[in-house]
């Protein structure tokens, strides 16, 4: 468990006077499911975008899968998968076409693409929908598909930004099954969420308040430290002091 795949040191992003993420320092281990929690506007998405190489940090350091976030963003991108808050597969392409396209630009061979997409479709039970436009699928399926595409190229780390927003409890459950399956194969999962039951599924979580990481530990340990019985209460105690929000 001690292989560090994400390591940040005082990672900071400023937009003018506004400090979106303030000196974040954390380590994430290989194969771990890491929950990245925080109220709306706490700076989660900004932090995640920096880790994915989508946004340049203002100061501080971070090493992702052994690569530096300033200089080696393109190498980072080869080794990570990303699923954004907003659904971002092509709605006007079919399920198969999307898989083929993303497989292709990650450099998979045609043979790999073929076997992988068959596997993926079988796993998600999308046999009947493989040739339908993605735009016509229900949201829950879109999200599962999105995740499967994000891990298609067997990345070391997958970043998931509120992957289960607006999805029904059953689908959420199925979604987490997918996450566990990926983690078992050694993929590190870095996930943000607003659902405290999901937080319980994580190996370790951090809670951000106003751009800073205020707590970082396993769910059990956190509950013990705050002397409460549920993650809801941990979160509430930390987040109520927040000055930012919607």
């Amino acid at each position: 468990m001690q292989d560090v795949v994400i390591k940040t040191d005082k990672l900071t992003k400023r937009f003018g006077d506004f400090v979106a993420t303030n000196a974040i320092t954390l380590e994430v281990y290989k194969g771990e499911i890491f929950g990245f929690l925080g109220a709306n506007g706490a700076g989660k998405t900004t932090a995640m975008r920096m880790l994915c190489g989508l946004s340049k940090p203002s100061s501080g350091n971070a090493v992702i899968a052994g690569y530096d976030v300033y200089r080696e963003t393109e190498q980072i991108k080869k080794n990570i998968g990303y699923m954004s808050q907003k659904f971002s597969l092509y709605e006007d392409l079919t399920v198969l076409e999307n898989i083929r396209f993303f497989g292709g630009i990650y450099g998979l061979t045609n043979q790999q693409i073929k076997t992988k997409s068959e596997e993926l479709i079988a796993r998600l039970g999308l046999e009947g929908e493989a040739k339908k436009l993605v735009g016509s699928l229900p949201l829950g399926w879109k999200q599962k598909l999105s995740f499967s595409v994000a891990v298609l190229h067997e990345p070391k780390i997958v970043f998931l930004d509120e992957p289960t927003g607006g999805v029904d409890p059953v689908t959420r459950r199925q979604f987490w099954d997918l996450i566990y399956a990926a983690a078992e194969q050694g993929v590190t999962i870095f996930v943000t969420t607003h659902y405290m039951d999901e937080a319980e599924y994580c190996n370790r979580i951090s809670i951000m308040v106003d751009g800073k990481v205020e707590a970082l530990d396993s769910p059990t340990q956190l509950k013990r430290n705050f002397k409460v019985s549920s993650m809801d209460e941990v979160f509430y105690q930390l987040a109520r002091g927040a000055k930012r929000g919607d």
Partner: protein
Amino acid sequence: MRTVRFLLQKEFRQIFRNKAIIAMICVMPVVQLAVLPWAADYEVKNVNLAVVDHDHSTFSRQLIQTVTASGYFRLTGYNDSYQDAMHLVERDQADLILEIPAGFERNLVRENQQKLFVAVNAINGTKANLGGAYLAAIIKNYNQTIRTELVSGVTGDPLHLIEITSSNWFNPLMNYKVYMVPGILAILITMVGGFLSALNIVKEKEVGTIEQINVTPIRKHHFILGKLIPFWVLGNIVFTLGLIVSWLIYGIVPEGNLAVLYLFIAIYLVSVLGFGLLVSTFCETQQQAMFIMFFFMMLFVLLGGLFTSIDSMPEWAKTVTRFNPVRYLIEVMRMVMLKGSEIKNIVAHLIIVTLFAIGLNALAIFNYKKTS
């Protein structure tokens, strides 16, 4: 290169699934080329003429007859006072007033010279210019006729006369539509290419799919190339359609070498697509991209020499037109299609457009940021 292939596959699929784009590609060239040249007809004919004849003499009637028989003018008013004729001008029913003063015939014979008054509604500059010139020429001819009649070979030194013969090349029927069609085709290609490429990346931004692309290890120039090639192909299709339409409707067959034409279009398209992509990297919403493109299109078309000649512009405006890619396309289209110019005649144009293509695309790649 394999990445580019996947990008192309995706773009083409998306394009062919988008009905609006398909409609634009098929309908635009036909409609524009079928309607615009008829609407944009600056040929000066049917100039509306109001005559104020205070003289009512044989000469004045003869003169009016000569003018109306010339075919350039349409008599829309035969008035007794200048005021009445002026009302016709105010209501746009007359473009020219020809006023024949009282005593025209008598004075001409007795005093050997007589004035005539012509007033031109100069709001429409071209019409005023040419209409006035035609009228002057007709009056001069008429003058010559009555002179020979009255003088009939007598008196003094013989006159030294210069006979002017003129011939009009490349467009002997002086058909204005022939002039406009290649220019409109040029605008068409620019519009289709510019708007499609400008809206494309912005749409990915608005929908959010660009994020998913940006986290992949895809190279910037591969991405731009993947966007460029499909629209380049579409541009060529539109151009070919346009050539066919202008042949079917107007019977215009390029005088020059088709290969030269396609070579130029190939390079030109790269530059105009680069411009569209550059605009789209600057914008966040499709609305913005649309407006900015519209602004530049307006600028390019107005300063492209489509309607008014660049030679007549003041120096500063001429300098501006040098940075207008549309100008070069319009020139080349007219040269090659109507005059049969050869490749050696358009070398300078080719070089400039190539520079545009390189510069604009380099800027687009530079300005497309995977990392904010």
